[in-house]
């Protein structure tokens, strides 16, 4: 890869981050929902003892990794939305006629979207800690890497969906109709052990379950599924959606 391609990756990343920093309302909007869940559910359900919740842990401890995963996933998928906006406002053409490979553009977008998602995940992590969640401090380092995998997965998914759509509203609809149920049917809100068999089967089929569970394993030292399984699923998901996103984007016409 030559310096022009690296320069292109850098500038795509830079643009994404700059836009994010300038759109403060979006930052707040993206962080506020998981934060409210964390604050209200975490506080309100504190006395309830879920079956499957390891001894010594309260619901807030359990919920914090789930909300971090949720905010990373949503924020990353918005990188896809930015492609639709770029198409609507014509800016996409500017990148499509540049003499750099589409792959570099996708890599830059992925890194930009993931950086923003990671920042939002960290905001929720700190919020959780301030609310009193007991987080394993040495676990935060592998957790950050795991968050990055989640982000790559979600950016890839977002891009793949976005290149097939022209309408930003349709994208928001898909986010709400597809991603919200997937989040609720993962282990973000309640443990695998606390649900009926048929629901557990669905949760096992839901890829997000492994992402949330893995993150929880690193952050609070407790996971329902072996970490090696979570990690393998995360890597597999991340690789497949990144390749899919890159492929879809490289084929798109302005």
């Amino acid at each position: 890869m030559n310096s022009a391609e690296i320069q292109a990756i850098y500038v795509m990343w830079l643009r994404h981050v700059k836009r994010f920093v300038r759109a403060r309302s979006r930052l707040i909007a993206n962080v506020i929902q998981p934060f409210f869940f964390l604050a209200f559910l975490g506080m309100g359900l504190r006395p309830i003892n879920f079956p499957g919740l390891p001894s010594g842990l309260v619901y807030l401890d359990f919920l914090t990794p789930g909300m971090i995963a949720m905010s990373v996933i949503f924020s990353s998928m918005f990188a896809g939305l930015s492609v639709i906006w770029d198409r609507q406002f014509g800016f996409l053409k500017e990148t499509l006629i540049a003499p750099v490979s589409r792959i570099s553009i996708v890599i830059g977008k992925t890194l930009g979207g993931s950086t923003v998602a990671l920042i939002q995940g960290i905001v929720i992590l700190i919020a959780g800690m301030l609310l009193g969640a007991r987080i394993s401090i040495p676990g935060t380092i592998p957790a950050l890497i795991f968050m990055l995998l989640i982000a790559f997965f979600a950016v890839g998914l977002g891009l793949s969906i976005a290149v097939t759509l022209k309408d930003p509203d349709a994208f928001s609809l898909i986010m709400n109709l597809l991603m919200m149920p997937l989040i609720f049917l993962s282990t973000a809100f309640f443990p695998l052990e606390s649900v009926s068999d048929w629901l557990r089967t669905i949760m096992y089929l839901n890829p997000l379950t492994y992402l949330v569970d893995g993150l929880r394993g690193f952050l609070i030292g407790s996971s329902s599924i072996p970490l090696a399984v979570d990690l393998s699923v995360a890597l597999g998901l991340c690789a497949s959606t990144t390749v899919l996103g890159a492929y879809m984007f490289s084929r798109s016409e302005a």
Binding site: F89, F91, L92, E94
Partner: protein, 321 residues
């Protein structure tokens, strides 16, 4: 070159050559295939059939070489509103692989060319329509393209701004030596800017020539002469081989000739020989509008109004969001 969309032929076997360093105008109504042609030439769309070369590079087989030698200003604005003018240019310069020092010098240079230096650090969302267009033109030039494509460069701009953009286009063609390929449905624009014009309609090229020659095809100019004694003058003029026709209306003669500006002195000489005093002379040249009418059988203006309307509606939709 041909492009078919779902069975609809947008561009139908067009064939043309653009000379290095010229401003080439692509004139036609909306939906004539101008933008489709530009998209094919700039590697954004694949031709269904045929081929095109830009500076010797094939647009289908060597898209990245083509992209390196062209600059494009699209019909719809393609700027990032949330970035400043300078940042938009910097983004572009980096995508085209310019080094740091090169980048800074060049950005300043192109900003100066379009008189936007003082606005460099302002967010583009605060720019007017004309400023955005100028910024886009500046951006198209950053990487020293050999060919600059301008798709309807003054669509939706007011008259003064349009004039100003024209001057910038002429200046950059002269100073940077860049070949300009522009599409427009404004007659005056094609006429004022282009060294040569192609008239396109329904995806086909109907005529390619210098604007002057196209207008001459219409059958010449009309020289309207006001004089003291029209009748003998009319009779004498009808005997001249270079006069195609003379009509008298009261004290005025309408004289049909080719290259009217060159015939005015001769007309006056004839008048003086007969002792007829000339009070006024008016030269009316055919416009490209007349040429267009002749080739397509209809006027372009009615459709132009629709285009502006559509643009305005779209702007409204965006604004509501």
């Amino acid at each position: 070159m041909t492009r078919v969309y779902d069975g609809l032929v947008a561009v139908d076997h067009i064939d043309l050559d653009v000379e290095e360093g010229e401003i080439f105008g692509f004139l036609g109504p909306n939906g004539a295939g101008k933008t489709t042609t530009i998209k094919m030439l700039t590697t954004l769309l694949r031709p269904t059939e045929g081929e095109a070369r830009i500076c010797g590079y094939d647009v289908i087989r060597q898209p990245s070489q083509v992209r390196r030698v062209i600059g494009v200003v699209f019909q719809d604005p393609a700027l990032d509103d949330r970035l400043t003018g300078w940042e938009n240019l910097d983004f572009h310069a980096r995508l085209y692989g310019l080094g740091k020092r090169e980048r800074e010098a060049r950005i300043e240079e192109v900003l100066r060319l379009v008189d936007l230096s003082e606005w460099a650090d302002e967010l583009v969302e605060n720019y007017s329509g004309g400023m955005r267009r100028r910024l886009e033109i500046a951006r198209g030039l950053i990487h020293w393209p050999k060919v600059l494509f301008l798709d309807e460069p003054t669509l939706g701009l007011d008259v003064q701004t349009r004039r100003a953009i024209w001057e910038y286009i002429l200046a950059l063609n002269k100073r940077e030596g860049v070949t300009v390929f522009l599409t427009t449905h404004y007659m005056e624009e094609a006429d004022y800017l282009s060294h040569r014009v192609a008239i396109i309609d329904h995806g086909r090229i109907l005529a390619v020539d210098e604007p002057r020659n196209l207008k001459d095809m219409i059958g010449g100019d009309v020289v309207i002469v006001g004089c003291s004694d029209p009748r003998p003058l009319a009779e004498e003029l009808r005997r001249q081989s270079w006069v195609k026709g003379v009509e008298a209306h009261g004290g005025e003669l309408s004289i049909y000739v080719d290259h009217g500006e060159k015939k005015i002195p001769e007309i006056i000489m004839v008048a003086e020989r007969l002792g007829v005093s000339v009070d006024s002379v008016l030269l009316r040249k055919p416009t490209l509008e007349d040429v267009y009418l002749r080739f397509t059988g209809r006027r372009i203006r009615e459709e132009a109004a629709d285009a502006v309307e559509k643009m305005r509606n779209r702007a409204m939709r965006r604004w509501r969001r």
